[in-house]
Amino acid sequence: MIKKALSASYLGIILLILYSPILIIIIFSFTEAKVLGNWTGFSLKLYTSIFSGGIHHSLTNALWNTLIIGLVAAFVSTALGTMAAIGIYNLLPRTQKTIKMVNTIPILNPDIITAISLFLLFVSLGFSQGYITVILAHITFCTPYVVLSVLPRLRRMNPNLYEAALDLGATPFLAVRRILIPELKPGMLSGFILAFTLSIDDFVVTLFTIGNEGLETLSTYIYADARKGGLTPELRPLSTIIFVTVLLLLLVINKKAAKLKL
């Protein structure tokens, strides 16, 4: 019993420390002060200013860019990664191993190495940097994770199902759509969510591939902000809203998943 309480409180303390900066952001989103850490009385002004268009349009733009890049990158990586996983699964073990090894390179590489290598690629080819290069770069570091989340599903499924569908006269495409995709869906979904999360949280790769045409994502915007010495106050309520939404979403999904299993 004591052991249980001790281990619960150990996890509790770690979580408390992990969440304390986030609590700070949430608490100070309810005050107007320009500087994070100053309390000038309770106020919802920052929240109303988000919704009444009071925030600078460059921040809104950055937010939209982040979402669009994240969604496009996540969609493309999920499609590319799922196809790749199906292909890899059906390869000879030797080739399979080689491709899997190359697949882990972007995972093992620190952000900045991926960033510099892609920067050199785009510069050498004379690509003008902007939306396209950022999305390509994000697909590069997201797809490996999709491959890794889809492969275990393939291994777990009954390989005869697909063959059976073919024997019963389904075209390969129909068999993929009706047999493979439904089996792989959970893996694809977690790959998609992971890819989206990685994309919107990314800073380093984005910074190196975004060019200097004025395109900004949330993280480059915040970086520029931080270098100027302060954080745009509206980022506090904005982060709070994003965080609470994701938290609720995950709790609901978790509850639903639990119910389905029981």
């Binding site: 619960a8 992990l18 790749a84 199906i86 699964y89 059906n90 900045i112 993280s219």
Partner: protein, 266 residues
């Protein structure tokens, strides 16, 4: 013709082709470019000067060594704090454990720069001076989830029969842990180390924010070189990081390839 196309794309192993091309272009080619730039001068002629510059340039070398030390400390602390957490999680009812694992990953949804700035505010609030201590705290804070998750994953997959067998053979709880559970969880630790050590060396922005620009890590050096247009030198420094990654990966080859296969990395 159409029939040929259909049968070609119908063979499922061919589905890997788009990704292979993609990898060749966006992963392999950029790596080759790093090597190319590292061994050429701005005019494109072959040279060792960039690599040599690293060894004779004490400032950069010092930054590098300092970053390695910070990364070692961070990795060590992450294992020290993360292992018990992962162990406790692995003993919990799986649904509850999964929820807590999600809670560990959730902070990632708030941009890490904002989190780091909030950490700065937190330190100010408690009147803790910014500097080395804050830097280590910030690093552990940022990378702890990457250590907990792979260890939890390996521990959770441990064959319970092995543990019971150890118990049946008369091992006390401590022996069970030290002789059975811990050795079996080493691949998890290995992949955790891979996820923490190198990224810490090459982070940038975190160190500047947490030390008021007093401490610079190797990542910042890399970034400055690319930004200042000294790409060849930047590429040479990147190559050094790459070699280090190659070395750590080779050492951990077995554990790593196995871990990657099980989707342990994240």
């Amino acid at each position: 013709m159409l029939k040929k196309v259909v049968s070609f794309s119908g063979r499922r192993r061919n589905w890997v082709i788009p990704y292979v091309l993609f990898l060749a272009f966006f992963v392999i080619a950029p790596m080759v470019l790093i090597i190319y730039y590292a061994f050429t001068n701005p005019e494109g002629a072959f040279t060792f000067a960039n690599i040599k510059k690293f060894w004779v340039h004490p400032e950069v070398l010092n930054t590098f060594l300092y970053s390695v030390v910070v990364a070692l400390i961070t990795t060590f602390l992450c294992i020290l704090i993360g292992y018990p957490a992962a162990y406790i999680l692995s003993k919990m009812e799986s649904r509850k454990a999964k929820l807590i694992v999600i809670l560990f990953i959730l902070p990632m949804w708030i941009n890490f720069l904002i989190r780091t700035l909030a950490t700065v505010a937190l330190f100010d609030f408690f009147r803790i001076p910014l500097g080395q201590g804050a830097l280590i705290f910030g690093m552990v804070y940022n990378f702890l989830p990457f250590m907990i998750y792979p260890i939890y994953n390996t521990l959770q997959k441990t064959d319970q029969n092995l543990i019971e067998a150890a118990q049946d053979l008369g091992a006390n709880p401590r022996q069970v842990f030290l002789r059975t559970e811990f050795p079996l969880s080493v691949p998890g630790i290995t992949s955790g180390i891979l996820m923490v050590f190198m990224p810490v060396i090459s982070t940038f922005a975190i160190a500047e924010l947490l030390t008021l620009n007093n401490i610079k890590l190797f990542g910042t050096t890399l970034q400055e070189n690319i930004y200042n247009g000294t790409w060849n030198y930047g590429a040479a420094l990147s190559l050094i990081v790459l070699l280090l990654i190659g070395a750590t990966t080779l050492i951990n080859r077995e554990g790593n390839s196995k871990a990657a296969e099980e989707g342990n990395l994240i």
